[in-house]
């Protein structure tokens, strides 16, 4: 009896399975197959960008018989979640920092053909976007946007001091010292000197502006220990010793300079345009008093470093074609321009035609697009490499200032010590 009941159960299960598979085949042929596309998107502090993107993705999915699942990564969890996505066996499409994507090209699909199809619609990419997307001629990500990095000023304090916005680093240093008012607890230049990303970007730009570099053009020879880099370090230390940079700057995180600028405790800082975005909504008086400019020029010229983001498709994705169709939709010129208008400067385009939009040439954001235009990739003047990414991500060059300030080392000795650490990275 027991054997018979098991036999009956097996027949029932098999029949049910047949019925279900027949029903699923009744929806139509292969063309009408419903797709599922998983997308990972980096949260923007321009919140409207996030909701706009979600709407774009959902609408596209509805029109294209696709279930679109969007996972928005909070900025603070970016490294963790991006790494998890890259290492996971599944996943389709993600917007990732280009420096993170390009050290994991073994997991990513070749997008060269997709780029060739798309590029015509927006006149190509800015140099930094392109350099951070290609390895040995192969495109592994499609550049999407950048977080522009500019200098912020309290225009009211600058005007009160009878000064003007600086165009060189020397002028900027003078202005920062003049604007420092310890009685009112206001510091001239608020920039962290520790582990935060803003300082990494600031320091890299200052080093280039003084003619220094981390690595030579061959991309392998570490060149940090040079008179030019020493000059760059001394420039910052001069401001610190003069009291223009707060004494606790070594302990700042990436949000401290934002908070202190919005709290009117610092007169100048270098940051992405998130300060503008928040000030406009929370403190309109301060917003009117904010001015920003591209990085002042140093002895070697004007430089910038910006964090750039590109779309990647997993090598083993089952929905690669669906992802590429979605990207074609996203990279429509009008759609790109609309996204950046909604972003209000929080994100800047890496596409030349979007960068030529009026919002960038007129009004507040001209310096933002300028920072993208002059930006150099990690490892410049050499090519972008994994070692360059590791040195930047681990904030090794930032460590010079902890040695000088806390360990009381001579700047030249500190630079030499950090150079050795970087050589170990490049030798692996």
């Amino acid at each position: 009896m027991r054997v018979l009941s098991v036999h009956r159960s097996a027949i029932a299960a098999a029949s049910l399975a047949l019925v279900f598979s027949a029903a699923s085949g009744c929806g139509g042929g292969n063309d009408a197959r419903r797709h599922t596309l998983s997308i990972v998107f980096v949260e923007s502090w321009g919140q409207d960008v996030n909701s706009h993107f979600m709407k774009l993705a959902t609408d596209w999915g509805r029109q294209n018989n696709t279930d679109v699942q969007v996972d928005v990564i909070p900025i603070r969890e970016l490294d963790l979640k991006a790494t998890a996505w890259l290492q996971a066996p599944r996943g389709d499409l993600a917007l990732l920092p280009q420096n993170l994507a390009m050290v994991n090209t073994d997991k990513l699909r070749d997008l060269s053909a997709a780029v060739t199809k798309l590029e015509g619609s927006f006149g190509g990419f800015y140099n930094i976007g392109e350099q951070m997307a290609r390895l040995d001629g192969t495109w592994y990500n499609i550049p999407y946007y950048a977080w522009p990095h500019v200098w912020f000023y309290r225009k009211d304090l600058v005007d009160a001091a009878g000064a003007s916005l600086p165009s060189t680093l020397a002028e900027a240093a003078d202005l920062a010292k003049r604007l420092t008012d310890r009685k009112s607890d206001v510091y001239g230049l608020g920039i962290g000197l520790g582990q935060d990303e803003d300082f990494s970007m600031f320091l890299q730009t200052i080093i280039w502006a003084f003619g220094g570099k981390v690595v030579q053009a061959d991309g392998k020879t570490v060149a940090l220990n040079s008179p030019e880099v020493l000059a760059a370090v001394n420039y910052i230390m001069d401001l610190y010793r003069a009291g223009a940079i707060p004494p606790g700057a070594l302990g700042w995180d990436g949000a401290t300079n934002n908070n202190l600028f919005l709290g009117k405790k610092i007169a100048i800082t270098a940051n992405a345009l998130s300060i503008d975005y928040v000030a406009k909504r929370r403190d309109p008086t301060l917003y009117q008093a904010i001015a920003h400019s591209a990085y002042p020029a140093g002895p070697a010229g004007r430089f910038a470093f910006v964090q750039t983001f590109g779309w990647v498709i997993k090598k083993n994705s089952q929905e690669a074609e669906t992802a590429e169709r979605f990207l074609s939709f996203l990279y429509d010129d009008a759609r790109l321009k609309e996204l950046f208008r909604i972003g209000e400067g929080a994100i800047a385009p890496l596409q030349k035609s979007a960068g030529a939009d009026r919002m960038w040439s007129e009004g507040r954001y001209a310096d933002a697009i300028n920072s993208v235009e002059v930006a150099r990739p990690l490892g410049w003047p050499g090519p972008f490499t994994r070692a360059a990414a590791e040195v930047f991500n681990r904030r090794l060059v930032n460590g010079i200032f902890a040695k000088v300030i806390n360990d009381k080392e001579d700047p030249a000795a500190a630079i030499a010590a950090v150079t050795e650490e970087i050589r170990r990275v490049y030798s692996q």
Binding site: Q195, P246, P247, T256
Partner: protein, 291 residues
Amino acid sequence: MTTTTAAREHQRDRRRSLLLFLLAPGAAFVVAVGFLLALAVWEIWVEPSAHRTSTLSATLRDPDFWWTLERTALFAALVVPLKWALALPLARIIRTAPEKLRWAFILPWVIPPGVATLAWFWLFYDVGGGANLVLAKFGVESRAWLGTPRSAFFICAALNVWREVPLWATAMAPSISGFGGPLEHMAKLDGLSQRERRRLLVRPRLAPLFWALCLLSLIWSIGEFETVWLLTRGGPGNATEFLSVYAFRHAFLSQILGRGAAAYLVALPFVAVSIVAVLTMYSSAVERART
């Protein structure tokens, strides 16, 4: 052999088999790790200046790793005794506090670590932070609390202690409930001094709990990440770069997952020795409490 004895022996055998079954994977893991570490050490012995190395030997060669291990050991060695020192008086306060207010003492433990850490971060901002505002009221110059290695280290330790002491105290409070009870009254009648009563009555009862809490705290302190990362990101310099921060930096920032895992594998023998030492103390404390 009686039926009862046979049944007891059978039960003991089953327990032993179950224990072996549970411990076998762990033992196999330890043997595998030991083998890999031995290979890495051999690799360094044979080619001390090799550039291309396995992640394990790269970690063994990295002077930053040994600095990190030393810092982590110092951190754990500092916070665990501090918790004990503060938990006992707090446990007494909890016992005597009104019942309706006792829940308040556990709050630091209950508050999400991220929220608590951000509050401490704002407290120790160098510009406009709470601590410096208090100092300013007394005419004292502001300090770079999180910008100086020593103060950053001690603030990380203080935060760790602040969060866990309520847990220790709440766990210990019921164990000290017998103080002043009939047993202690009888001991007083027998002429024992307060010191002798503490040594003979209080300590044996608290010792097992103390070592159990020590073990938990040791494991949590060695693995402390969220609070340290939010507070200092391992800085200034590498003053608070503990094991977890080192592993995170290599795994997720350098995108070399193997180096992150290797850091924990290389630290495993040291951590295991500490845990075994604490477990041994715990077992003797339990034995003494029984007698």
